[in-house]
């Protein structure tokens, strides 16, 4: 087991973990009861995916760590999630816009991974794929409704897209960790997901009457462990229980 292999799996685990944490912040604050539950369900799905993947990592690395220690006792630099998922929720529109951009990418990623050589990872991918299809459907519905809604909702969705779009470049950028994982057949070249992802999101954004921002050279680097200023605050809240009461259990 190479460290690049583990690093690659940690990326897969940390994206749903951190977005699940972000979405949990909506619990009790949703615009209506029904959406409150829908976001909480999505958060639970994502945390469930992260648990499976972190357990897989813990088994492979055999350092005596478990999923909890990986989630709650790593420091900011050791997290491998995309910067996109750690950004604050913003309003409901921005939250569903992120879910939309994220789920559309996850959809193609899980599809590619479910046929891979790591049987455990393939099984996790197959399970996550079903959940992701629903997340995408839910988020896409709202993106279209709000984008093609009132003047106010359209303006907010366009602002959300303008803000989040540059962070999607990271989802498709190559680096040595990924190249190593692709070389062994374990990983998927994320650049190859860009075209199917765009084929998923572009028609829906058009239906939502939203304009896709022009490309910029900006490239976030969360998956390399270089996070935004929001990550430390997110981790403080996520990790405080385990750090104040190490080993505590429900």
């Amino acid at each position: 087991m190479t460290s690049a292999h583990l690093d690659y799996l940690l990326r897969l685990a940390d994206n749903p973990l951190i977005l699940g944490q972000r979405l949990s912040e909506w619990c009790g604050h949703g615009p209506v009861l029904e959406e409150d539950l829908a976001l909480a369900n999505t958060a639970l799905d994502l945390i469930g995916q992260a648990r499976l993947l972190l357990t897989h990592v813990a088994t492979l690395e055999s350092k005596g760590r478990n999923e909890d220690q990986l989630a709650f006792l790593r420091s900011e630099r050791e997290f491998r999630n995309w910067t996109l998922v750690e950004l604050p929720n913003g309003d409901f529109g921005r939250t569903v816009m992120r879910n939309f951009l994220f789920s559309a990418c996850q959809l193609h990623l899980w599809q590619a991974l479910q046929g891979g050589p790591d049987a455990q990872l393939a099984a996790i991918a197959a399970k996550s794929l079903k959940e992701t299809r629903y997340h995408l459907r839910h988020a896409a519905d709202w993106v279209v409704r709000l984008g093609d809604g009132t003047g106010e909702s359209h303006a907010r969705m366009q602002a959300a897209l303008d803000e989040l779009w540059p962070y999607t470049a990271e989802l498709f950028s190559a680096d040595p960790v990924e190249q190593a994982a692709v070389a062994t057949g374990l990983g998927v070249a994320s650049a190859s997901l860009r075209a199917p992802w765009e084929a998923t999101v572009r028609p829906l954004l058009e239906e939502a009457t939203l304009a896709i921002p022009a490309p910029t050279p900006f490239l976030s680097r969360g998956k390399l462990g270089v996070h935004s200023e929001h990550m430390g605050h997110l981790l403080a809240e996520m990790q405080i229980m385990q750090r104040s009461h190490p080993g505590a259990q429900w």
Binding site: V32, L33, E34, A38, R137, T150
Partner: protein, 95 residues
Amino acid sequence: MDKQEWPLWEVFIRSRNGLDHKHCGSLHAPDPRMALQNARDIYTRRLEGVSIWVIRADQIHASDPDAKPEMFDPAEDKIYRHPTFYKLPDEVDHM
């Protein structure tokens, strides 16, 4: 912002194939598609069902509770409407 409330929908869930859809609750949603999604998120989180129906609550016509005496009481003393006066042959195990 428009203060108009989303309409109310009644939710019916079929727990297994072959069984009837049963009423299980209600929710608010702007249209049928969203009502189905909300029903999925609210009422099928614990594997409760394999099929969902949603129906606009204002499309349901209900009997008047005040009309209960004339609607239902007349059936009270007509026990001969129950199929309990037949002697079943032994070969018929379950009826």
